[in-house]
Amino acid sequence: MRRRKITERIVQGLMVLSLGALGLCFLSLLLLVVFRGLHGLTPAMLLETPKGGFYLGKEGGIANAIVGSLLLSIGATLLSLAVGLPLAFALQREYSSARMRAATRLMLDVLWGTPSIVFGAFGFVIMQLVGLRTSLLAGTLTLALVILPIMVRTMEEVLRMIPPDFKETVWSLGLTRTEAFLRVLSRQALPGFLMAILLAFGRGIGDAASILFTAGYTDNLPSSLLDPVASLPLSIFFQISTPIAEVQDRGYASALVLLVLVILVQVVAFGLNRRFSRHLIR
């Protein structure tokens, strides 16, 4: 009995230890970015584009990257919403056969698992094919491919979670399925949809590998869809890679900006979800 108790203690200790170690690592990551980042953060940095000699430590800011990242991920989110919403409806039993649904879910899961660098490479192939250069348009399209599976699978789960009695009530009123989904059921699913959209947006803003090939990088703000754009992850990467201390400091500040953006998106997602969930019918 005593030995069993001791084993119990040891295992518990190990578990607490591993959880603690992980927590510590993550905390050090967050604190590191926050403290090193605060050091280099100035208002000018957020509002200006890089001037000549920016990568040698002269003045300028990362406005090009912030604007670029926002444009890319907002565009990609809207695009994949335009395809994803009908897709989520189509994956309900009212619209397609069980086999088709299973096959499509399988494909979406495969696409979800595919590394974003592969999407980047694929986007590059397509760009060569149609003669498009690195541009906002190409980057947005590729990023939309990356976040589409995430968004659709989440939204589709939300629709499937609607209680059956609720659906039956709607059918009994004599609505067609499209009227039911568009006018009634989508209201019930709204909090989940918002969550899916924001999570996809957060994923998009942090993704670097897919836009490396396709969006390019530039110090200027884009003036059309066919201009290359900068993005925050790449901007951080380039600034950190230089040996000059001032530039690196600004790299950490850019990292802080990205971290704040990502956390903000998640917090807003959870907050909205809680707020809108109050009106749901259960």
């Binding site: 050090s28 090193r36 590394p115 992850p233």
Partner: protein
């Protein structure tokens, strides 16, 4: 507009005699005929189903596009020259992927070796031992971490890990810059943990409470219950969590790229630099045009990556389906 019809459309019914129906929108636009509604429903259904086809087209296009681009290289070099040779000289037309494949596998293995025990223990703790308070803090925190961009992990690796690994390496008598296999594995292990923990936790939550109660009532301790009952019931599910973590690790690009050193040679020790496949693709896209067959080689690398990761994901899915069938019966 009759009262039932307006209720059906979710509008406030017009009250008889107030003339509201005429003042507002004309009645015919608010209530389309039954036939028009059914036609609208049919068209929407066609459109919705069309997007289903789009997904399949996209997946197929992805595979075919990469195959088509890597075909010239596949036709030119033999299987052995491609996958079992370390000779990587794009200018001479030699493309041996062995060093890159070993690099990818090495980094992933180290990452999983560290992440698997840590995150399984953490998941068991959260599911079986932790109180409500710990759980309500830890679960959202883990979800938050799963969403942190990989560049930030790479940053942390460069700043916090690489100097430590360099010290450790020199202390053990290796010549190293700190940018090496071990650093890559460590950074990756941290990135994989949130995924493995959240999947494993969900699986453990789905084990029926009755199984635990039966074991505890026999006088087993918590850990004995976990080991003999939970781990047996949830074994496959935990494997799934590890496989999913693995597939994430295989394709991770930026964070690894920043700390592994990127030298295309077979690693001699944990402290040698390596060059995983995703880094190869990410680092070289600029030179694609100038060297013949180089773009083919990069697309082949992407194709390999995609096939391996997809195989892992499909395996995890099959295991999960088996598991669900087992629990239902």
């Amino acid at each position: 507009m009759s009262q039932e019809e307006s209720l059906r459309l979710g509008q406030v019914p017009a009250i008889e005699g107030t003339g509201q129906a005429e003042v507002g929108s004309p009645a015919w636009s608010a209530t389309p005929s039954f036939r028009a509604r059914v036609a609208w429903d049919r068209w929407c259904a066609v459109f919705f189903r069309g997007t289903l086809g789009l997904v399949h087209l996209l997946a197929l296009g992805l595979l075919l596009g990469l195959l088509w681009k890597s075909f010239p290289l596949l036709g030119q070099l033999s299987f052995g020259e491609l996958f079992f040779s370390t000779a990587w000289h794009p200018l001479k037309g030699q493309y041996g992927f062995l060093a890159f494949i070993v690099g990818t596998l090495g980094v992933t293995l180290i990452a999983m070796g560290i992440a698997a025990p840590l995150s399984l223990l953490a998941a068991i703790y959260l599911s079986e031992y932790a109180g409500k308070r710990t759980r309500s803090v830890a679960i959202p925190f883990i979800q938050l971490l799963a969403g942190i961009p990989s560049v930030l992990f790479g940053l942390w690796g460069m700043l916090a890990l690489v100097p430590g690994v360099r010290l450790l390496g020199t202390a053990l008598g290796f010549r190293t810059t700190g940018y090496c296999l071990l650093s890559g594995g460590l950074v990756l292990s941290l990135m994989v943990c949130p995924i493995v923990i959240s999947v494993a936790w969900e699986i453990l939550q789905r084990v029926p409470m009755a199984a635990r109660e039966a074991a505890l009532s026999l006088g087993l301790t918590r850990w004995e219950t976990t080991r003999h009952v939970l781990l047996k019931l949830a074994r496959r599910g935990l494997v799934v969590s590890l496989v999913l973590g693995c597939s994430r690790a295989l394709g991770e690009t930026m964070a690894v790229l920043m700390v592994v050193g990127n030298v295309a040679r077979l690693p001699e020790s944990l402290f040698s630099p390596v060059y995983p496949l995703p880094s190869l693709i990410a680092n070289n896209y600029g030179e694609v045009m100038s060297i013949p067959r180089f773009d083919s080689a990069l697309m082949l690398a992407a194709l390999i990556l995609m096939c391996v990761v997809t195989a892992f994901n499909l395996g995890a899915r099959a295991l999960l389906q088996q598991l669900e069938r087992g629990w239902r019966s």
